[in-house]
Symmetry: C2
Subunit: 443 residues, 2 copies
């Protein structure tokens, strides 16, 4: 018990020092940050043997846990760092260095009065807690995004990657400390599961929590903290085949959305088919899915056309399979498709396949999801594919950021008001001055 | 007990129907929304006698509660609706009608490939819960902002304004229903305190909670919901008199910030004075504050220069007085001023008074608050003064919106991707297509 208290105290101390550090690093110049990032990339390159050796230790322990069924094969697989993966890590860091600085951008400006100018300027969020599972490449990825956006991070990695996480963390921290520009606790690594619970309570020290892992992890975190959480728990994406389709195009989008990476959150889970299209094409659609080894769970109406598919049980329409399975439903019209998606979807990404421009717009206006597509695969929902350069994660939140999140999701803004002795009471009353409220051109 | 269950069920039903309504009103055209707003303003104007009569009922009940000390004088005062106040309400609604539509604006666009175009488009948040105290003018204000931004609202007003709230709510709802365009439950009014607790648990139906009221109310809500909360609990604003000041300008800013409306959250609570300035000017600063009936609670060092002020006890530097009182501290230099504000401030609004441009920029870069000002009164922190046209409230959140919140705070965005059969696997592998990632000019 004493031991647990000491541990909690440590995480509390880390969070308090992290908050202090955040105030100090908010205004480090873009050029400096980029030099630091390149140094981090170089040091990781230089020390790749050491990293691989530490990773071997983790793999050895993990192999035992795997043989005892204490971890899954997929966790084991994601643990492995090869020389190629380390190359990808350093390339990623260099890419972050090459992106524009998200901080200190003038977003908006207004002249309130002669000599009284108001600017909305992007600024770091402050302290960000990132909770992730076994993949150790999250550390350099998130650390580099944090350095670029002038945020402090507290990283909680998986126990099974402890040695790899520690060496990566220490290499990055060495560069920061040796620069003489960054205070200690700019990046922080914590290890224990108990520490997460302490972290979730530090709502005056931590501004944002980003969980990266299973739905279970994300849900647990959302329910146990008053700190804003950026992430998505479910990814129940839909494709709707409208009344007016080009079958070849439709099937190509369907197979890409379902089969190119079934465990990704942006893979499709439910196919809705307009009754006219179903009557005409359902056997061909099912045949194509079968060819691609997809199991189909269909509504009664679809089963009556194609009896070879499984029955959808218990109206389980919000199921996220994350494997080669799909739900299938025939709908009366586009309105019922929209209603189905808004009811059972998770607000991630949904696509209409249609040759009708009008229907595409109707679908895209009324579906309330982060991504609403026409005639494109759901798999495009990704920060790199959107052109953000780097991805923090995907958000199904309604506020702050929605959809794939790039560096922009790691900044907020502040209002800077430049005056020359201006006071508010001059502007009150009938004979008071009137605000100019003239928009300033900003770039 | 049975009764309470039925009531809770009702709020649950309201929230579920509100969610459904939110999907239906997301795309109502700008012109239509503005016509509806003007109709609401006209109907309130027509029915002003009825409103005043209902208000008299509330005032009568409140007078009794006041005499029994069950409500405060300030709650009683805010309850009163006069003909002038009703005029101000309708003028406010007409003003909201005149503002640009915040929904369906293209915020950003990128060409991903030939024929594959991605747009970030502003969209309503969905269902917003607003919890406020006695002021009945909140209902038309928030309802008009909700109509303009195509959001559904659930309003919980103070019990003491029940009759006034009900008549205002019914007038607005009549216009919405009579139009034939808005489903029931587009605006909703709930009455009971118990209902708030139910509301705070409806995290799949409600997207955002906006509490407008005491610090206590805001804190209670933040701690009892996993729904994002937009608001501010404290407003501990600072003024720092730098080493290089023009005394006259400094005093004018100080008195405006402290005395023009002491109970406002953007009034100053703490004055920090550079030691050189203190040595030169402190007696004059104190004299000016005394002239304006401000009580001063100073650090030991300031007391030694001006013994007539009170002593600051228990280092109570995060005190929000909300009346004619101020904390006073002498600081060594600008760095200690920044550290003090970042430690004890509430991230609302802080001002430096200085003739040094360099110090102004240093202060504005390193203070981590929603508003960082140079040579201007803290009282400018207000949506109308910032030129937003309408104010939802002021946010000290770090994410989503920060500072005064206009209509922009009531919208989010979605990504619309227009393709023509595009699939992601074409872009993978060494021989895959390369994304164009060409920014599209948007207005």
């Amino acid at each position: 018990m004493g031991n647990i208290n000491i541990k909690n105290l440590n995480v509390k101390n880390i969070a308090i020092k992290a908050r202090q550090a955040s105030k100090k690093i908010a205004s480090i110049a873009s050029g400096t940050k980029n030099v630091i990032l390149l140094r981090v990339a170089n040091l990781i390159e230089q020390k790749k043997e050491e990293i691989i050796n530490q990773n071997k230790l983790d793999l050895k322990n993990a192999r035992e846990l795997l043989s005892e069924n204490k971890i899954s094969q997929s966790i084991f697989n994601r643990l492995l760092l090869t020389e190629e993966k380390i190359f990808a890590i350093t390339a990623g860091i260099k890419n972050v260095a090459s992106l524009p600085d998200p901080v200190n951008k003038i977003l908006w400006g207004m002249e309130l009065d002669d000599g009284l100018e108001l600017y909305r300027v992007s600024s770091p969020i402050g302290v960000i807690g990132v909770i992730f599972e076994s993949r150790p490449d999250v550390i350099p990825q998130i650390a580099s995004l944090a350095i670029k956006s002038s945020n402090v991070v507290i990283l909680k990695g998986g126990k099974e990657a402890e040695n790899t996480n520690r060496v990566l963390f220490e290499l990055i921290n060495t560069v920061l400390i040796d620069s003489g520009l960054y205070p200690e606790n700019t990046i922080n690594l914590i290890y224990e599961r108990d520490d997460v619970n302490t972290m979730l309570k530090m709502d005056t020290e931590i501004d944002l929590i980003i969980p990266r892992g299973s739905n279970k992890l994300v849900k647990f975190i959302k329910q146990n903290t008053s700190i804003p959480v950026l992430g998505h728990s479910d990814g129940v994406c839909h494709i709707y085949f409208d009344e007016f389709i080009n079958l070849e195009k439709a099937l190509s989008i369907l197979i890409d959305s379902k089969c190119s990476y079934p465990s990704a959150c942006n893979s499709v889970e439910t196919l809705l088919v307009h009754k006219t299209t179903a009557r005409e094409y359902l056997p061909k659609i099912v045949e194509k899915l079968f060819e691609n080894n997809v199991e189909i769970f269909g509504c009664k109406r679809s089963q009556s056309i194609v009896p070879s598919i499984y029955a959808m049980k218990d109206d389980n329409w919000n199921k996220e399979y994350s494997e080669l399975k799909i739900s299938l439903k025939i709908v009366e019209n586009i309105e019922s498709a929209i209603e189905h998606i808004n009811t059972y979807g998770s607000g991630h990404t949904d696509t209409i396949v249609t040759e009708s421009n009008e229907n595409a717009l109707l679908f895209m206006n009324y579906i309330d999801s982060a991504g609403v597509y026409s005639n494109a695969s759901t798999r495009f929902a990704d920060g790199f594919r959107y052109g953000f350069g780097a991805e923090v994660g995907i958000s199904t939140n309604k506020i702050h950021v929605r959809g794939p999140v790039g560096l922009e999701g790691l900044v907020t803004y502040k209002y800077k008001l430049f005056g020359n002795g201006h006071i508010s009471s001059e502007f009150s009353g009938k004979s008071g001055k009137v605000f100019k409220h003239k928009l300033l051109a900003v770039d």
